[in-house]
């Protein structure tokens, strides 16, 4: 659509670039970095960067498939429990003497199967994903508790825990960050450069129209949930490795942060729009913010106030910017009114 209404003069083009959510995020990140640097001399050191990134990687990794799912106008609340179930099964198998090279694939298969269950209930059963994944949020956590109980398993080999908090040799880049970047590239290409991605947007904009246009809506939806389950179990493995301990309550409460990060990244909760680069920037913004606040000795719990405010503002600001802009356009008389209504919110969804 932006190609159709491409402005002729450079000034408007600037305005359009500035109005992009990704630009806002970059500005916010720069502001937060400046704030962090002024708060503490340690903020800009590589070691701090490394800590800053490592703590958020499970959330960041789960946010990637969540982006695709929300773009397709669905939601997956069960990811945190799937991460917990992955951790529990991994710990259970390890404690039972099963080597990790068998345990890890088993866990990934369980993740994919859990995702398949969500996907079939939503896409085949026609049930609302909000309720289905609320159900599996409880179910997967329950299974994790049944598998492992209240105990923790922590005698993992060093090679495995290295994956969680080790760095790429010779650098301070944590391994989970590498996983995140690879997955972001992979899913970014899938969403933005392939027909599958176009179909995901089409489903999110209007599933009925997509179906009549030949999109295999059911198949794509199921695929997205399988992907989400698979990657959530991967996040559970990384979490287990980073904490060098498998626990049934691993990942509790993460879904909220995952969804918050995705929405902060400019993804529309009603589907149809949003980008992987936007979500990646949101991950960085949240990581920088949490780190800056920590250096300012604000506790993790109180940081949730900032996170919640950011989330709400991320919706309020674009809405009002849009309204202000169309009001200005009307006053300036630069556009005929018909045009402004065509692109306004008045269009039926």
């Amino acid at each position: 659509m932006s190609a159709v209404v491409a402005p002729v003069n450079g000034q408007l083009q600037w305005a359009r670039l500035l109005a992009r959510w990704e630009t806002v995020l970059v500005v916010a990140i720069l502001g937060l970095v400046a704030l962090g640097a002024s708060l503490s001399p340690f903020f800009l050191t590589p070691g701090n960067f490394s800590n800053l990134v490592a703590a958020l990687m499970e959330v960041a990794i789960m946010a990637l498939p969540m982006t695709l799912i929300i773009v397709a106008a669905e939601i997956d609340l069960s990811v945190e429990s799937m991460a917990g179930l992955a951790s529990a099964i991994l710990g259970f198998l390890w404690a039972a003497g099963v080597p990790l090279w068998i345990g890890i694939p088993v866990v990934l298969v369980v993740g994919a199967l859990g995702g398949l269950m969500n996907g079939l209930l939503v896409a085949r059963g026609g049930l609302p994903s909000l309720v289905v994944t609320l159900g599996t949020l409880a179910l997967f956590r329950g299974l994790a508790l049944i598998v492992l109980g209240p105990r923790g398993v922590s005698d993992f080999p060093a090679a495995f825990t290295e994956l969680g908090f080790g760095h790429v040799p010779g650098t301070l880049i944590p391994w989970p960050f590498v996983v995140f970047v690879l997955l972001a590239l992979l899913l970014g290409i899938l969403l933005h450069r392939t027909w599958v991605g176009r179909q995901v947007y089409a489903i999110g904009k209007n599933a009925g129209t997509a179906r009549f246009s030949g999109v295999r809506v059911t198949r794509v939806r199921v695929g997205l949930f399988v992907l989400s389950g698979l990657i959530a179990s991967l996040a559970g493995i990384i979490l287990t490795s980073r904490l060098s301990s498998a626990r049934a309550d691993a990942g509790s409460g993460m879904t909220l942060t995952v969804v918050t990060v995705v929405l902060l990244g400019g993804v529309n909760i009603f589907g149809g729009s949003g980008t992987i680069p936007g979500v990646a920037l949101a991950v960085i913004a949240v990581a920088v913010m949490q780190n800056a606040l920590r250096l300012a000795s604000v506790t993790v719990e109180v940081q949730s106030i900032a996170l919640g405010l950011l989330l709400i503002l991320s919706v309020v600001i674009p809405t009002f910017a849009h309204q202000a802009k169309s009001a200005l356009d009307r006053v300036g008389g630069r556009r005929p009114p018909a045009d402004s209504t065509a692109h306004g919110e008045g269009a039926p969804s």
Binding site: A138, Q303, T319
Partner: protein
């Protein structure tokens, strides 16, 4: 269109006279029937299940969730959702406990303060959703973080112990009038008033209209934003009630009180047969859904199943309830289509 949407939810059984739609409308009865059967089975294995003291304990605890679930149901019927319920409950609970501990207010004033605080928090949600036009799920996800953060900010690592509360304050959790626990009476009053309002007042009918077809409701001149704002405000008020009862029930309150309760509340609403996309369902259903979940939890523990099974079974119950809804709705739709074709 609005008319058909509204009547479909209100009078499906009356106009279509189909047994399936009867079952669909009688979710409350089906739940009660399942509870009776289950109760009978459980009491064979665990005779203490059906004792008055156990039952009143279960019902008291479930009443807290039920009251919050009634508020949630009201919001869900308008095609919105309030994920911040647990944070409102927690914040109200802590604030009430701390003013009591510091003797800033006496018990009745503290309770009134708690309810007022809940109402204000609900109004904040309402303003964000209606005036700032943030989708409810995003708005309340945000306020969930914010309210909980404020709770932590005020509480820090402090915990109000049972001894910090005025003597007798927590008695209400265990007292009963005419054999009925006080919490259950409170929940009953909430459900009865709420149901009458939804059934027989202009506001109540407008709540269903907004939820079943927002566009049509707007065309009819229904002030949707005001209705949604009111629903969120009332949800906050009821969360406040639940928060005050939480203090009485548990006595020991800190910044993390009521964490995770939103899962039970939304589960109660879904199990109680309120459609998650609005427009249909009853407040009594939501309350009975809460009772049902509490009942199952208690039964499982008494049967000797470890409480680790609880979460898994909650999950299954939610999935079964929503699948049953979809199945019944589909059958009704098919039956209607067939009758029209004839």
């Amino acid at each position: 269109m609005a008319e058909s949407g509204v009547t479909a939810t209100v009078g499906a059984a009356r106009t279509r006279g189909q047994w399936l739609s009867m079952v669909a409308r009688q979710r409350e009865l089906s739940l009660v029937a399942i509870m009776v059967v289950l109760g009978g089975l459980v009491s064979i294995g665990a005779p203490q299940f059906l004792t008055p003291s156990n039952l009143s304990q279960v019902a008291s605890l479930a009443s807290i969730i039920a009251i919050a679930a009634v508020g949630q149901a009201l919001v869900v019927i308008t095609r919105n959702i309030d994920l911040s319920v647990e944070a409102m409950m927690g914040l109200v609970a802590y604030c009430v406990a701390i003013v009591l501990e510091r003797h800033a207010l006496d018990a009745p004033a503290a309770i009134a303060f708690g309810l007022g605080l809940g109402l204000v928090l609900g109004m904040i949600n309402g303003v964000i959703v209606t005036l700032l036009r943030v989708p409810a799920i995003v708005a309340t996800l945000g306020t969930l973080s914010i309210f909980r953060g404020v709770d932590y900010l005020i509480a820090g690592s402090h915990q109000v112990p049972l001894a910090g509360l005025p003597p007798g304050f927590t008695d209400a959790a265990r007292d009963s009038i005419l054999g009925i626990p006080i919490f259950v009476l409170v929940a009953l009053v909430v459900v009865v008033i709420g149901s009458v309002v939804l059934r027989s007042t202009r506001f109540g009918r407008q709540v269903y209209a907004v939820g079943s077809n927002p566009e049509a409701a707007a065309i009819l001149g229904i002030p949707s934003r005001l209705i949604v704002f009111t629903a969120f405000s009332l949800c906050g008020l009821l969360s406040g009630v639940a928060g005050v009862l939480w203090v009485m029930q548990f006595g020991t309150i800190n910044g993390t009180s009521a964490t995770g309760v939103v899962l039970s509340v939304v589960a109660a609403v879904v199990v109680g047969g309120v459609a998650i996309f609005g427009g249909s369902g009853s407040l009594a259903g939501a309350a009975i859904g809460a009772l049902f979940l509490g009942f199952i939890a208690n039964a499982l523990i008494l049967v000797g199943l470890s409480q680790f099974w609880l979460q898994a079974i909650y999950g299954v119950v939610i999935l079964v309830a929503v699948s049953a809804d979809a199945l019944i709705l589909r059958r009704i739709a098919r039956a209607t289509a067939e009758r029209r074709a004839r």
